[in-house]
Symmetry: C2
Subunit: 264 residues, 2 copies
Amino acid sequence: MRQKYYRISIIGAGGVAWQLAPALESAGHTIEEIYSRSYEKALALSLQLYQASVIEKPDFSKSHAEILIIAVNDDAIQEVAPKLILPSEGTIVVHTSGSQPLSTLQDVKTVYTGVFYPLQTFTYDKHTNFSNIPICLESDNSHALKVLTKIAKSISRTVKLISSKERAVLHVAAVFACNFSNHLLSIAESLMKHQHLDLALLKPLITETIHNSLTIGPQKAQTGPAVRNDQTTINRHMAFLKKHDPEYAKIYDLLTKHIREINK
Amino acid sequence: MRQKYYRISIIGAGGVAWQLAPALESAGHTIEEIYSRSYEKALALSLQLYQASVIEKPDFSKSHAEILIIAVNDDAIQEVAPKLILPSEGTIVVHTSGSQPLSTLQDVKTVYTGVFYPLQTFTYDKHTNFSNIPICLESDNSHALKVLTKIAKSISRTVKLISSKERAVLHVAAVFACNFSNHLLSIAESLMKHQHLDLALLKPLITETIHNSLTIGPQKAQTGPAVRNDQTTINRHMAFLKKHDPEYAKIYDLLTKHIREINK
């Protein structure tokens, strides 16, 4: 596939935009404009880039951009999308959300809509290497899909076509695997604090558990009292948790029963 | 602290014994004997070691060991402990369990009992580097504690005195942080399989989430619809899960409500 460089504008100046814009530049593409509801944020992002200008309204009529990437909060997509004034009828407009269907862009005045969803969590402060981050693409237009594939492949080794339906399930799965797992670490931290112990003590065990889980698969990697059916330990834990925090006990009980149910 | 090498015997030939025995040898200690209910397993382990012999009964009366390490399943400790015939009255006897109190060893015929708990999950197949693994020590005897500290420091940089009460809480915390997180990965995997997607797609996101959680702390690292209070997404996820698997919906509901409660 011949390398082609694109002219791209970015809507949004949050974590995704902050990481994606420099990565696209490094891959050879040009960031033309940045637009954000917060002019200050857009300006700050533009200062990280070679030549991107900041615009105050979502009016791209004078832009040379071939692609507009909407990298804003999920609920802000529907707000900004209909207001976009495009450079041309052929402009490709994508959003970067894992939770929003392609149809969120149905009011944009182009036939070239799509989704460009990098499957990662982004923060401002640290530089993201996209090469190992899966980029999930969707479009019902083959020209748009071709262009998006070229752009995605210019920054990542893992580019997947993922439909809105698949992406919806992927998003629920990510909530379980990431948001909820993180919350369980919160609970672990609060339990340990109660004994003046630091969560850091569990770090090697947590890291190894996740590594094993992703290497041999979570089903095979499951350990602990629930899967061992160690009722003595479960009873001891439940008695402690009921006294310590009944909500923790509820969560312990539900997850323990589910592990036993799945593994019996 | 002057380096001193000890003569150690191991009871058990499971994951912990399989990793701990070679690590102790590498640190300069001598493994005298291996005893396991399964002679075959004990033999297999002894073949990994320089000069350890296998004994068929827990009779260490002719042993030169100064320390006996009971590295067996939690419920097997109480079974084997009273049967131990010690080399001398001064032998130090420890178990390696996170879930069992020190008092599990009260029937052992020595005053030198203790706990030597490496906070990690162990498998047979892969070589464990103990240097980053916390070793949690307990003993009500200062001589035993001194010896255990020397041994622990000879293989690990993180050696902590952890009481039975603290260890009990540590163990519950580990169930939340590790066993339950792993189970959430199981759920994520099964959701993805349903759309013919591979859990591997979520690997970079999971790894980054856990990394962030352990770096900036889980409370600050929490993301997702629950902490954002994004009711539209939560409703969409719940509607999907109720149809797909009501048990998944229950878990989603309980954890989402708890995240909102904690963060409000």
